[in-house]
Amino acid sequence: MSLFELKGLRFGYSRGEEVLKGVDLSLRRGAKTVVIGPNGSGKTTLLLHLNGVLRPTRGAVYFKGRQISYDRRSLRELRSAVGFLFQDPDVQVFAGTVFEDVSFGPMNLGLPGPEVERRVQRALSSLGIEELADRPLHFLSFGQKKLVALAGVLAMEPEVLVLDEPTANLDPAHVEVLLEKVEELRSAGCEVIMSTHDVDLAYSWADEVVIFCEGRAMASGDPEAVFSSEELLRAGSLRRPILLECWTALRERGLADGPPPRDVLSFRRRLGL
């Protein structure tokens, strides 16, 4: 059974043109899925449907085999199960202090105070930002705010984490912290779906890549297969990941063989460097 299934999904913002133009897509359980595509292709709009924040004008979204309903109770259940990290943390964090902001989601779940406090502490310490707990949000850097926004989602202990361009505008140190945490969550059984336009990240991280362009899912599959297709890359305004490009060039000159490595460490090891 798929984690999410989208059938004939169409959506347009009020008085605007259609953003999603009939999306048919199945997202596997247990797979690290990346939705990749150029700016303005509709990735964020697509992902917002997974959390029930946006309601399709036509078509349907299925979560674990059940069609999403948009009544209050069903949405509450869905949003408790599917956490969403927005691209811009300033959109997501709004309370006076970090501690208060992270407690917002668990409080909305109706949990008792001690349990909320335990979850907030755990979320903050798991991201190594417990010392920020009492800081007002406007004194934080972009990277810190991003981690606070993630902590706010983690404190709700979702089954699925949807990350909208999580590495955009982040410095390498914060990217590393964020991706490490995502890996930990994956090991603990949390499903992760991410959107990005970073082809190198998608290639090295994902099990499954969905190329999204002009409101449609153009192709999905194994990163190597997807990124090896010149036609798909051109249609999606993407480029080939650097590791794949280098490996292909080395293979053409007889300096390497076998399937291309997915990360720098394996690349070096395979070349005996």
Partner: protein, 225 residues
Amino acid sequence: MRGLHPGVKAVWSLAMLAAVFAGGPVVQGVVLSVVLLQLLLLSGLSAVTFLGLLAPVLLFGLLGALVVRFSSGVGWWGALSLLARVSSASAVFAFLAANTPFVHLLWLMGRLGVPDLLVEVFELVYRYLFLLSQTVDAVKLAQDSRLGFSSFSCSLRSLSFAVGAMLRKVFLSLREASMALESRNFDGRFAFLTRADFRAEPLLVAALMLPALGCLFLALLLPQG
């Protein structure tokens, strides 16, 4: 001082304000001196920073006192009395503001029974004022980098563009923020868990409250008029 229970600081402020309004210029002068001394000894904030915070209020107070002196029959002593009252009362508020995180004040308001709706509005305004100020700075910088303020007419045109841009941004931000709230199960009420692990060291409380009570006593001895 910032971690001190906000209730203690609120009681201190009320006592000081009562002294300011009950006492004459001498008491007001004493209050101002006490506030400055407590600031230097207890809060660790520099006098320069504090006076910088007070400067606009003092300037308005001075102008007001001069206007009152020359436009009505009040003498120099009356104008000085007005200035002393404005300065000392403002110093009390500035001390409270400089030593109390805003979220502690919100917590206190909640505890004092201020309606949730008002506290939530204050909380949102507090957060979004900073965002608005960041956006204004960014728009201004973007315009300035393209000679948007190179002449008077350019400045006027840039200002009108900035207002339009800000309105658009406010509407977009509103939509995004409401989606972000919904994604975390927002049900119409801003529910937070606020940490209330304030300190109330007896020595600090005594050092703050005893001089305040002294000022209040002095005001009863030397009442206004």
